[in-house]
């Protein structure tokens, strides 16, 4: 589903990614952990082209991210084309980023109606089903400011799902939540994983990584240090850096 080969990302003088290699299989939950500043969020943002990679190759579903390859030549994509490809990738942000001037329902219907051209009636019905699925059937007409953090994040997940993505990216989805609200969001994500959604999750929730993740990736200093099945990595980390990190967070 996603393949990264020696992906580099430079911000001015700082090199956030220094050659990331990673493969994500369809219907698999990949969990990326690592200390802050290790480049895990940057990598996630590169996957749907919110950041442009500086070097290396990155494919989603067999297509280069942000570019089109024709023989040996690589062409930059037009914004419209970038937008079209992004529509197939759902993203959930640390700070929710719900649209504050729209109700929960409008947040969920906006993209299907405006981007995909779904008739408003059908989009509304689909949005209600999604909000019901994340346990917010009674909050459809609330504005984001009237919802708790956990509820907002669940609306954000429903909003991403409304585009029927083939891949979901989660950028520290529970880091901005009060501890007692983390569970309800993880519960929704667990349900998604059980339904076979391909997910890449950047998180500090080690319990979630162990129970739900199929593949665990430890990043540090802009590279993938170690990866493997979560139970193996947690129980017998091979690298010293992984051991040092896990000893601090577990």
């Amino acid at each position: 589903m996603v393949r990264a080969e020696r992906v580099h990302k430079r911000f001015g003088r700082v090199e956030a990614l220094r050659g990331v290699d990673l493969t994500v299989q369809p219907r698999e939950v990949t969990v990326i952990i690592g200390p802050s500043g290790s480049g895990k969020s940057t990598f996630l943002r590169c996957i749907n082209h919110l950041e442009q990679i500086s070097a290396g190759r990155l494919w989603v579903d067999g297509e280069l991210v942000g570019y089109r390859q024709d023989g040996d030549r690589i062409y930059e994509l037009r914004e419209r084309e970038v937008a079209r490809r992004r529509a197939a990738i759902g993203m959930v942000f640390q700070r929710f980023n719900l649209f504050p001037h729209m109700t929960a329902l409008e947040n969920v219907t906006e993209a299907p109606v405006r981007v995909k051209g779904v008739p408003p009636g059908a989009a509304g019905a689909a949005a209600r089903r999604l909000l019901d699925r994340v346990g917010l059937a009674n909050k459809v007409d609330c504005y984001p400011a009237e919802l708790s953090g956990g509820q907002q994040q669940r609306v954000a997940i429903a909003r991403a799902l409304a585009m029927e993505p083939k891949l979901m990216l989660f950028d520290e989805p529970t880091s901005a939540l009060d501890p007692e609200l983390v569970g309800e969001v993880l519960e929704v994500m667990r349900g998604l994983a059980a339904d076979g959604m391909t997910m890449i999750v950047v998180t500090h929730e080690m319990g979630f990584a162990r129970e739900v993740g199929h593949h665990l990736v430890f990043m540090d200093d802009g590279v993938v240090v170690e990866e493997g099945p979560p139970r193996t990595v947690f129980a017998e980390p091979r690298e010293a850096r992984t051991r040092a990190f896990l000893s601090k967070v577990l």
Partner: protein, 308 residues
């Protein structure tokens, strides 16, 4: 004492702090105002009868209409220009952003009155004819002598609208910048194009920041239209001066005009209040209710209990 459910607490019924200083200074100000009004009335220059006579005279009402038409047209065009130039200013296209910067710099940096003279007197003497034609054909869509095209209204409209556009561009730009970066990212991540993101996500949120200063601009515009008097456009002040230049009752007619300007700006200010409430939608503080309204403030100031 009445029986109470266990656990219910005593309400605090405190005597509010008395602000004696406010009462004293308030009274002093009222005395000064009353004295100024009384001495002005006694001078005889403000002739109430004259004011009443001209307040609704046909010529004045005609001027009032011309003022409203010019202000609304120029402000509307100014808002459109403002949005366009604010977006151009942010554009990745270097030429577009420089053109927008130059426009703002030029029209903010020259007096409106000079701009009005320029449109009314300057343009017709530099360009004799205005022709709109299809290039490389003999097809002419519009052709006129510039003096005929550049009526006082047209010159006043162009001058005020272009000047206003420069100010509105800065207001709209500030509004756009006030919207959280995460909103744009979320919209992009959903597959929305930059144009759609601007229209559906950024601008509606920017409105909360844009509306208050725009209301200010419109109130200012209502009064700035009086400059068009200088290029013979028959707005309110022009009509008033038309009358007093023959009858010499200057002060009453200035009072008549001022009363109409006050009426217009009051109406505009009220409209602004309701617009602001509309665009505060979805904000936590939109639920302030009575406390935020003008009446609520007055009620609170005179010591009444606010209705919550």
């Amino acid at each position: 004492m009445a029986a109470r459910a266990p656990g219910e607490a005593d309400a605090i019924r405190a005597i509010p702090v008395r602000h004696w200083g406010r009462w004293v200074s308030g009274a002093a100000v009222l005395v000064v105002v009353a004295w100024v009004a009384w001495s002005a009335a006694r001078s005889g220059f403000i002739d109430g009868q004259q004011v009443r006579r001209y307040q609704f005279s046909p010529l004045i009402l005609k001027g009032l209409r011309a003022t409203v038409v010019l202000a609304v047209a120029a402000q509307a065009a100014g808002i459109v220009l403002g949005v366009v130039f604010a977006v151009l200013r942010q554009s990745k296209n270097v030429v577009a952003s420089w053109v927008a910067a130059f426009y703002i710099w030029f029209f903010r940096g020259t007096p409106v009155l000079v701009q009005l003279f320029f449109w009314y007197n300057g343009v017709p003497s530099v360009w004799k004819r205005i022709v709109i034609a299809v290039p490389f054909t003999h097809l002419t869509l519009y052709s006129a002598r510039t003096v005929d095209f550049m009526t006082p209204f047209m010159a006043a409209f162009l001058g005020l609208a272009l000047n206003e556009g420069a100010y509105m561009a800065e207001i709209v730009r500030a509004g756009i910048l006030s919207v959280d970066e995460g909103q744009v990212e979320a919209a992009h991540a959903l597959g929305m194009t930059p144009m759609l993101t601007m229209r559906r996500i950024v601008l509606p949120q920017a409105m909360r920041v844009i509306v208050p200063p725009t209301g200010n601009e419109f109130i200012s515009m209502l009064k700035t239209t009086s400059l068009a008097e200088a290029i013979t456009y028959g707005e309110l002040l022009r009509r008033a001066s038309d009358i007093y230049s023959s009858t010499l009752n200057v002060v009453p007619l200035l009072v008549v005009a001022s009363i109409w300007y006050l009426v217009l700006t009051t109406v505009a200010g009220t409209g602004q209040y309701f617009l602001e409430r509309r665009f505060a939608r979805g904000r936590a503080r939109s639920g302030d209710g009575d406390l935020g309204s003008p009446w609520g403030r007055i009620r609170r100031a005179v010591g009444g209990r606010p209705r919550v």
